[in-house]
Symmetry: none
DNA sequence: AATGAATGAGTATTCATTCAT
DNA sequence: TATGAATGAATACTCATTCAT
């Protein structure tokens, strides 16, 4: 009856309303304490309709995560200063994420805890997101490599994942309550500097990369 | 009244029986599908008695984790070849852990997922274990530093955490189903080599650390 | 979609089946020893469905109470002899209740004990029931007042609550095991006579209200 | 070994310490949320020792009740103005109790709810306390009778229980959350006035008992 | 008398998900 | 597509009380 385009748009709207509702509720009350019925009510749809758009409650978490993190990550790349030292660029990218979580600890925790152990059906979406993120980080590193800031033989892909690993471990330590955010930042900076050093030209010993770092 | 030694010993025995029972059951049926009553029954004690020794089911997981990992980690250090290149030593230490989990995926997953987000009351024990582990890794690195294998100015503590971060991220990626164990090994080796490179002497370019690595 | 009437009727039916099932079980085994699952099973519905109709086990007690007492109270007013002396009318009304409880001590006790201290959410229903009951008692008293049986200035509302207070205290004393039912009846009669006397015309001393009383 | 007197005293001390501890805890956290182990700890004795002095947790409630109410009731009689109108004297006696509960709603509620339905073994103590209380109220009434304030033929015993019934019903209504304390006071005054009127001399119509009452 | 380790019974309630309409 | 009533699985934990020392 309705033109395909309109029907499509209706679906799209409903989908967006659901994600927005879930996000609102997850932030307000946390993931666990939010029920799917609450999400449905907040989205203005029936309890059963929800499962036409998200097969699982976990799905909702993934959807919210992808929405939020996409924005945060996109934004972090848009505000990136390509002329800054590579270390600073990476810190900028990772800080954007931890800063975001700091604003929503209640949501950051389930993200960090659940998303690494998500149901198989939802892994492709997560994988795609992560791959895109990693690729973009690798591109930043690649540019630095081309500028001669790091060794010509350096593996940008490996550097991307390895700096991410440094970030992710500290992020979890922080969200898990083992370290403070300040500690996360200090440790991350040192760890990234170390990681980059492994890919840095050492021809002239004095030429070490300078950046606004804490001197230990 | 009763000789302190005896009562103490009884408690100790019971504690050990509980952890052993929990371990057995967790391995056999997984953590989630094991009920506390099953653990109590397997340990030969009353359902309530269990909670005199573990305030929470999560406690049981932590107890089993500490027991298992302590053994695995202790063993990994005992079988360490102090004369091997540092990279190989570290791979030996981390491989011991992933090899252990490979034998018990059902238990490794909850370990990796839950233990970073454990209840506050159980964090000190986790922290202490991690601190001890990190210290021992740092000592290994420190020895390498004294042998002149890595830079005299290198920070052993930072290297320990940073190599661990590399390991942990891949471990989770593997347990979460994102990468295979083979991939974990390959990536970890490259990442560790990169990390160590940042702390490696570069005076004589040809003197690069040799170890049995995969040439990509 | 479905005709409102049908869906409504279904819900109504289910509600009634639940209350009937609860009543049956409470009488047979007592309130405490009846589990909600038993009630659900007896009503032929799922364990969870029960809580769509009664948010709490306490709710079930209130529902059964309102059902039973409504009947008993309604019946007590229908069988009331409006021509009898006021004291006898009141005794008739209150005796109906204690006689009912005598048939189900197992249920009377939790009624008397719990319903005065019910969760806030259930108080309005209780209040409404009590208000209706008190109003009807007051009407009986009011009629007696208009017949000149009690003082023209008497407050029917106050007399209703005050006679009820006399009844309720003895009811609890009986259900609590402090007095026998016989004692309850004797004491109640005397107490009601006393209460009414306070509102009785004394112009002609000899005109005291006559009713079939126990002479102590 | 120890002289009987000392042993007795020790027991007495322990008993008192237990009741004091229970009272403290019940007031602070409420009856239900207080565990017997907490009471034992607070009293500085072993968990098992407690049950040498109170066979049941309910026992503790009764003990605390008797201690508290004995004091309150004793005090209410000591501060009684024997020259005041009977109505005022009774209000004084009952107000003392509700005023006491107002200071400890958390404790008043279980008192009012549980004590009427206490285990058989504890009923004699309750009965004795109530009997003593009633007797003393009856004595007050009896004195008024002898002063000619109420009818020579009035039954002091019946008046005592009946006024108490009026009080108790309103006390429960208040503690159960059905009426406010102000309402309790207003209703009680009216109800007592009514009850006393039933036993008041009416020879000279104008001679009605005067007391500081609210005129409706 | 005192202890405190051991016991084990006992159950309401939530909520993701389904499916008849 | 949408609905929302119906489902039912699923279990950790508390705590009064006991009893061997």
């Amino acid at each position: 009856m309705a033109p395909g385009g309109l029907r499509e748009r209706n679906k799209r709207d409903k989908h967006d309303r659901i994600v927005a509702a879930a996000r609102r509720l997850f932030r307000r009350q946390g993931f666990e304490r939010t029920t799917t019925q609450q999400v449905a009510a907040e989205a203005g749809i029936g309890a059963g309709t929800l499962f036409l758009y998200a097969r699982t409650k976990e799905d909702l978490l993934v959807m919210v995560f992808l929405l939020e993190l996409s924005r945060v990550v996109d934004d972090s790349f848009e505000t990136l200063d390509g002329a800054a030292p590579l270390l600073d660029q990476l810190l900028h990218l990772y800080d954007a994420v931890s800063r975001h979580h700091a604003r929503n600890l209640a949501l950051g925790r389930p993200f960090a805890k659940e998303l690494m152990f998500v149901h198989e059906a939802r892994r492709p979406a997560m994988r795609a997101f992560m791959a895109g993120w990693m690729r973009r980080i690798a591109e930043v590193i690649e540019r630095a490599r081309q500028h001669g800031e790091i060794d010509a033989g350096a593996d940008a892909r490996l550097l991307a994942t390895s700096t991410f690993a440094q970030f992710f471990f500290r992020l979890q330590s922080w969200l898990g309550g083992y370290i403070t955010r300040a500690r996360l930042e200090a440790e991350l900076r040192d760890a990234l500097r170390l990681t980059l050093a492994g890919a840095t030209l050492h021809r002239r010993p004095g030429r070490r990369n300078r950046s606004k770092t804490t001197k230990r």
